[in-house]
C-alpha cells in the first residue's frame, strides 16, 4: 500500500470506511480512552514545534503487513501468518488470545476483543474472517478473547481475483476506495509496471519505524 501524505486530507474516511466494511465495533468513551476499542485503521496526529511554527502531520496507519512481521514470529498458534501474496492474515479460529502479538506489534495495529461485541443492524452478514474456515470448529466469528486487525480487505481481493479483476485497479481495500483524495494506492509491489511501483519511484517514500526491521509493506510518500 502506498499512502501519499501530501494528498491525504486527514478526513478519516479511511478509518470509518474500514469500520463499516469489516464490522469493526465501536466502544464507549471510557473504552476509547483506555484503548479497548478495536481500530483497524487509525489516523494519528504527530505534532512538533511551538506556536507559531507548529506542525501536525496526520498519518493513516493500517496494519503494515510487514514482510518480517513480529506478530507472525510470536504467535504460538499460528493464528496470524503471512499468506503467499504477502497479506498477514488473522484467523479467529486459531487465536487463543494470548496477546503476544499485540505486545510485539511496533505499530499498535492490533486490537483485542475485550468483550463480546454487539451485532449492529448494519453489520454485513457475509464477512470473513468471520466466515473463513467455517467448519466443525467452534468460534469462527469475532468473539471476545481474540485479536483482530486490518486484513487489507482480503475478502474483497480474493473475490475479485476469482472474477478476474485486477488488484489495485478494479479492487482495492475499503480504505483506499473510500479515500476521497485518492491518497491510498494499493497493488502488487512486485509488479514493476504497476501503480505501486510507479508511485514509489515518483518521489521519496518512507516507511514507519524502519529501524525495527519489520519490512512493512505500507509506504508513505512524503510531503
Amino acid at each position: 500500500m502506498v499512502i501519499d501524505l501530501d494528498k491525504c486530507t486527514g478526513c478519516q474516511s479511511c478509518s470509518v470506511a474500514c469500520k463499516a466494511e469489516n464490522n469493526v465495533p465501536s466502544g464507549s468513551p471510557e473504552e476509547h480512552t483506555r484503548r479497548l476499542t478495536p481500530f483497524w485503521q487509525k489516523v494519528i496526529a504527530v505534532s512538533s514545534g511551538e506556536y507559531p511554527s507548529v506542525s501536525i502531520d496526520l498519518i493513516p496507519m493500517p496494519c503494515m503487513h510487514c514482510d518480517d512481521a513480529p506478530c507472525v514470529t510470536v504467535c504460538p498458534a499460528r493464528a496470524t501468518y503471512k499468506r503467499e501474496d504477502g497479506i498477514v492474515m488473522q484467523d479467529f479460529r486459531r487465536c487463543i488470545g494470548c496477546k503476544y502479538c499485540i505486545v510485539a506489534c511496533p505499530y499498535g495495529a492490533r486490537s483485542f476483543n475485550y468483550k463480546e461485541q454487539e451485532e449492529m443492524p448494519y453489520h454485513r452478514p457475509d464477512l470473513p474472517p468471520e466466515r473463513a474456515d467455517r467448519g466443525p470448529w467452534p468460534f469462527p466469528r469475532r468473539v471476545h478473547g481474540v485479536v483482530e486487525k486490518c486484513t487489507f480487505c482480503f475478502h474483497r481481493i480474493d473475490a475479485a481475483i476469482e472474477e478476474g479483476k485486477k488488484v489495485g485497479e478494479e479492487v482495492v481495500p475499503a480504505c483506499a476506495e473510500a479515500c476521497p483524495a485518492h491518497a491510498i494506492a494499493f497493488g502488487d509491489l512486485d509488479d514493476p509496471d504497476g501503480n505501486v511501483a510507479q508511485l514509489l519511484s515518483s518521489r521519496q517514500a518512507t516507511r514507519l519505524r524502519e529501524e525495527m526491521g519489520t519490512s512493512p509493506k505500507v509506504y508513505y510518500l512524503l510531503r
Binding site: T9, C11, L58, R131, A178, P180
Partner: protein, 770 residues
C-alpha cells in the same frame, strides 16, 4: 508414630494431588490430539479463503444484494452515493463514480449514514406532548398518536390560523433538508401565506454570500474551479473540514497536490491551526476578526507593485479607482501588521505569491466572515480574485449553473395568503436593520420573544435544531417555550423537538424520495436522486408526503398549489427531474450531469447596475439608499471594521472562537459512535471537545492540559476540559462544535448588519480552573 499417608511414592504418579488424575489428563490430551487430527482430515477450505456462499448454513450469508444509487445528507453537500443493501439491510455506503462533482468521492460522514439510518434513538411514531410545561430539562411526557390524528390536528390549527386571517403568524424553521423538501416547504409557505420561512442559512455563511453579491450580484457561495487552480489563499474556510461541497474539495485536494504536473500551493489564514492549515503550505495565524484588513493589505501590495491583472480590471470592473484609493490610503502592510498580527514582510510575500501564481483563488469562509462587518470582509476577500483576474476563468472563481429542474407551476396565492405574505417578515430581513439580508435566522428568536412585529402563533420545525446550533442558543429555549403551538419534524428527538406539542417522525435520507444538488462548487450542474434504499422504518414518512397530506387537508388554493406536481415525494422528484433523463435511467444512475462549464461569460454573468464586477458596490448602494443610509465614504467599498467585542476585555481577556470538525454530522454527532470516537483528529481524541488554549495563555492562567475548566462569557458559562494546543493564537479559546460542551450556549448575539448573518466571532470569555 503412625504415618498416615495415601501417597505411594514409588508410583511416580501425580495421583490426586492436582485434582485430576494423570490418567484422566492423558485421556483428555489424547482425545484432544485425536480430534485435532480428525479435523485435519475433514475437508475444509484452505486457511484464509472465503467459504462460498452455498456452503453457509441455511439462512446465513448473502441472500439478496442490491446497490441502489442515492445521495447523502449528513451535510449540505449531498454527495451521490451507492448503498450496498444485503438481505434488506444497508451495510455499506460508497461513492457513485458517475458523479462528476465529487468524481465518486465521499467524506467520512457518508459512511456514518448507516448509523443515522439505524439510530436506535429514532422516533417510531408521531408523538404528542402531555406535559404542558416546556423547558430544556422538562420531560415532555410523549404519548404516541396516529398519523391521522397528528396531521388532522396540525392541519386543523393551520386552517384556523388561516381562517383568522393571520397565516403570517406561522413560522417554519428549517435545518438541513433535501432540495426537494426545501422547494416543497417554500411552496407551502407561499401558498399558505406566511413570509416566515426561516432557514438555517442565517447561522451559516450569509455574510459570505452577501459579500459576493456586493461585487457581482450573486448572493451565493462561490464556486471555485479547483482542478485547474494553482494557488489557494484561504481565509477562515474549513476547506478540508466543513466547507461545502466538502467531498469535492477533498477529491480536488488530491488532484491539485499530486495528480498534475503543477502542485498547487495553499496558504491558510486562520486564528487556529485547522486541518486545512496543517495540510497547507503555510499558516498565517491571524488575529480573529481582522481578515478584511489582511485582505486589503494584500490588495495594497498587489496594486502598489502593479501586480494586478490590468486587462481584466479595466475591461470588466467598475469602481477600481475608489477601491485603489481606499486600499492604498489606509491598508499598507505596516499599518495592518499590528492589527492582524501578521508581519508586514509576510503580507508582502503572500501578496506577491498570490498575484504571481495564476490562476489563484482567494477563498473566504465562515471563520473570517462570521463577524459583524462580515459582508465587507467577504467583499474584501472576494475582490482579490478580481484583482488577479480570477473571475470566470479556468482555475478561478466560477459561477454555479443551476440544475434545469422542470419548473413548478406558477403559484397564485389567494387573498388570505397574499395578505399574509405582505406582512413584514419575522426575522427582519430586508428591513432597516438588515437591509440586504435574505434570512436573519437568529433574530427570529428575539422577534418571537419581543412579539415584534407580531407574536408567532404556531411554528413548524423541519430537521432544525437552533437550540443547539444558534449562537446564544438559550434564547431559542425561551422563545420556543413561549410558543403556543409547535410541531417538530425529524427522525429523532433533539433539543428543539423537546419543545414540541407534536412530533412527526420523518424518514432519514436513506429512506426518502427526493432530488438534490450540491451548493456552489462544481460550476456545472448535477442533479442527484434520493430513493429509499430500505423501506422506511417504523412509522416514519417523507417530509414531502407530509406536506402534500397537510395541503390536501387544508384544501382551497393551498391544495391547488400542490396539484399536478406529482402528489407525493416520489412523484415530486419525478416531476421535477422530468426532461433530464428517463426516470428509470435516473434511478439506476443516481445522477444527471449537466453540460460542461463555460468560462468568460462576462457579457452576462454580472448582476450589477453596471453589468460589471464592481469594486464599488452599486447593489449595496441601492440597498442602503432604500433604508436611507449613507452610501458615501467606504460604505459601498470593501473595508475593515474593527469588531465590536461582546464583553469587557478586562473581565473577559480571551476571545472565543468555534469551529466545525469534519466528523460533526450536521452539527450534532451525538448519536453516531463512528463520528464520536474519532471526533477530533488533530488531538487524537474522541467523544468530547475541549477548550483549546495556547500554551503561553495556559501558563498565564495556571492551567494544565486536561484540567477541568470553566469557560465563561457575559452570557453564560460552560464546563469542559482544557487542551493546551500550540495551534491556536495566544489569547484565543477555540472549541469544536458538534459534540461535548456547546460553545453556542455562551456565544453572544450579534449580526452582520447587511446580511443578517449571526456572528459567531466576537464573544470574549475568561477561562479558569473549575
Amino acid at each position: 508414630m503412625v504415618k498416615i499417608s495415601r501417597s505411594v511414592p514409588t508410583q511416580a504418579s501425580p495421583g490426586r494431588r492436582f485434582g485430576i488424575s494423570r490418567r484422566a489428563f492423558l485421556k483428555l490430551a489424547g482425545l484432544a490430539v485425536a480430534v485435532a487430527a480428525l479435523g485435519r482430515l475433514i475437508k475444509r477450505p484452505a486457511l484464509g479463503t472465503i467459504v462460498p456462499a452455498d456452503n453457509y448454513p441455511e439462512g446465513e450469508g448473502v441472500i439478496t444484494e442490491a446497490y441502489p444509487a442515492t445521495s447523502c445528507l449528513n451535510c449540505g453537500t449531498r454527495c451521490a452515493t451507492r448503498v450496498r443493501v444485503v438481505n434488506g439491510r444497508a451495510v455499506k455506503i460508497t461513492g457513485n463514480p458517475l458523479s462528476q462533482v465529487t468524481e465518486g468521492a465521499n467524506c467520512a460522514r457518508a459512511q456514518v449514514g448507516l448509523q443515522v439510518l439505524y439510530d436506535p434513538a429514532r422516533i417510531t411514531t408521531p408523538l404528542r406532548r402531555t406535559n404542558p410545561a416546556r423547558g430544556r430539562d422538562t420531560d415532555p411526557g410523549w404519548t404516541p398518536i396516529s398519523w391521522d390524528e397528528a396531521l388532522a390536528e396540525v392541519s386543523g390549527r393551520l386552517q384556523d390560523l388561516r381562517d383568522d386571517g393571520e397565516p403570517h403568524r406561522l413560522a417554519i424553521f428549517t435545518g438541513l433538508n433535501t432540495v426537494s423538501d426545501e422547494d416543497i416547504l417554500r411552496r407551502f409557505a407561499r401558498a399558505y401565506g406566511t413570509p416566515n420561512l426561516i432557514t438555517a442559512d442565517g447561522l451559516d455563511d450569509e455574510a459570505g454570500q452577501a459579500g459576493q453579491w456586493c461585487a457581482d450580484g450573486h448572493y451565493s457561495r462561490s464556486a471555485y474551479d479547483l482542478a485547474r487552480t494553482n494557488y489557494i489563499l484561504c481565509f477562515g474556510a474549513g476547506i478540508l473540514e466543513s466547507y461545502e461541497p466538502l467531498a469535492r474539495s477533498l477529491r480536488m485536494w488530491g488532484k491539485i497536490r499530486r495528480e498534475r504536473p503543477n502542485r498547487a500551493r495553499v496558504v491558510v489564514v486562520d486564528p487556529r491551526y485547522s486541518v486545512t492549515a496543517l495540510r497547507a503550505d503555510a499558516w498565517l495565524p491571524v488575529n480573529p476578526g481582522t481578515d478584511a484588513a489582511l485582505a486589503l493589505a494584500i490588495a495594497h501590495v498587489i496594486i502598489s507593485e502593479n501586480l494586478y491583472d490590468a486587462a481584466f480590471v479595466s475591461r470588466h470592473t467598475r469602481g477600481f479607482d475608489d477601491y485603489k484609493d481606499l486600499v492604498l490610503g489606509g491598508y499598507a502592510p505596516e499599518q495592518v501588521a499590528p492589527v492582524t498580527g501578521i508581519p508586514a514582510a509576510t503580507i508582502g510575500e503572500v501578496a506577491r505569491e498570490f498575484a504571481g501564481t495564476r490562476p489563484a483563488i482567494a477563498w473566504r469562509g465562515r471563520g473570517a466572515t462570521g463577524w459583524p462587518g462580515g459582508t465587507y470582509t467577504a467583499y474584501a476577500i472576494y475582490c482579490l480574485n478580481a484583482l488577479v483576474g480570477s473571475i470566470d476563468v479556468p482555475g478561478g472563481v466560477i459561477y454555479q449553473e443551476e440544475p434545469p429542474y422542470r419548473p413548478l407551476p406558477g403559484l397564485a396565492p389567494d387573498a388570505a395568503a397574499s395578505a399574509g405574505l405582505a406582512m413584514p417578515p419575522l426575522d427582519g430581513r430586508g428591513s432597516a436593520a438588515f437591509p440586504a439580508a435574505r434570512v436573519v435566522t437568529n433574530h427570529a428568536a428575539e422577534a418571537m420573544l419581543a412579539e415584534n412585529p407580531y407574536p408567532v402563533a404556531m411554528a413548524i420545525g423541519v430537521n432544525a435544531n437552533f437550540n443547539l446550533t444558534a449562537p446564544g442558543a438559550p434564547r431559542w429555549d425561551e422563545a420556543l417555550a413561549r410558543l403556543p403551538y409547535y410541531v417538530h419534524i425529524s427522525p429523532t428527538v433533539n433539543e428543539m423537538a423537546g419543545f414540541a406539542d407534536i412530533i412527526l417522525p420523518a424518514t432519514t435520507f436513506l429512506e426518502t424520495w427526493a432530488y438534490d444538488h450540491s451548493p456552489p462548487g462544481s460550476g456545472f450542474a448535477e442533479v442527484r436522486i434520493k430513493q429509499p434504499v430500505v423501506a422506511p422504518f417504523y412509522n416514519s414518512r417523507n417530509i414531502a408526503d407530509m406536506v402534500f397530506d397537510v395541503a390536501t387537508r387544508l384544501g382551497g388554493s393551498v391544495a391547488d398549489a400542490f396539484g399536478n406536481i406529482g402528489g407525493s415525494a416520489e412523484g415530486l422528484a419525478r416531476y421535477r427531474t422530468a426532461g433530464l433523463m428517463p426516470w428509470e435511467e435516473l434511478l439506476a444512475a443516481g445522477v444527471w450531469v449537466g453540460p460542461e462549464y463555460q468560462y468568460y461569460k462576462y457579457h452576462r454573468i454580472f448582476d450589477t447596475p453596471s453589468g460589471q464586477f464592481e469594486f464599488l458596490s452599486g447593489n449595496l448602494a441601492a440597498a442602503l439608499q432604500k433604508i436611507g443610509e449613507p452610501t458615501g465614504g467606504d460604505a459601498c467599498l470593501p473595508h475593515y471594521q474593527p469588531p465590536d467585542f461582546l464583553g469587557e476585555a478586562g473581565a473577559y481577556p480571551l476571545l472565543l472562537t468555534s469551529y466545525q470538525p469534519l466528523l460533526s454530522v450536521n452539527g450534532d454527532s451525538r448519536d453516531y459512535p463512528w463520528a464520536e470516537e474519532m471526533f477530533l483528529v488533530e488531538h487524537g481524541q474522541g467523544w468530547t471537545n475541549f477548550a483549546e488554549i495556547n500554551s503561553a495563555t495556559a501558563q498565564e492562567l495556571g492551567i494544565k492540559d486536561g484540567d477541568e475548566v470553566r469557560v465563561e462569557s457575559p452570557f453564560g458559562s460552560l464546563k469542559t476540559r482544557a487542551r493546551v494546543f500550540e495551534g491556536v493564537r495566544p489569547g484565543v479559546v477555540a472549541m469544536a462544535r458538534g459534540l461535548g460542551a456547546n460553545p453556542n450556549e455562551i456565544t453572544g448575539v450579534a449580526y452582520d448588519k447587511i446580511s443578517g448573518q449571526a456572528a459567531r466571532g466576537g464573544t470574549r470569555v475568561r477561562v479558569y480552573r473549575a
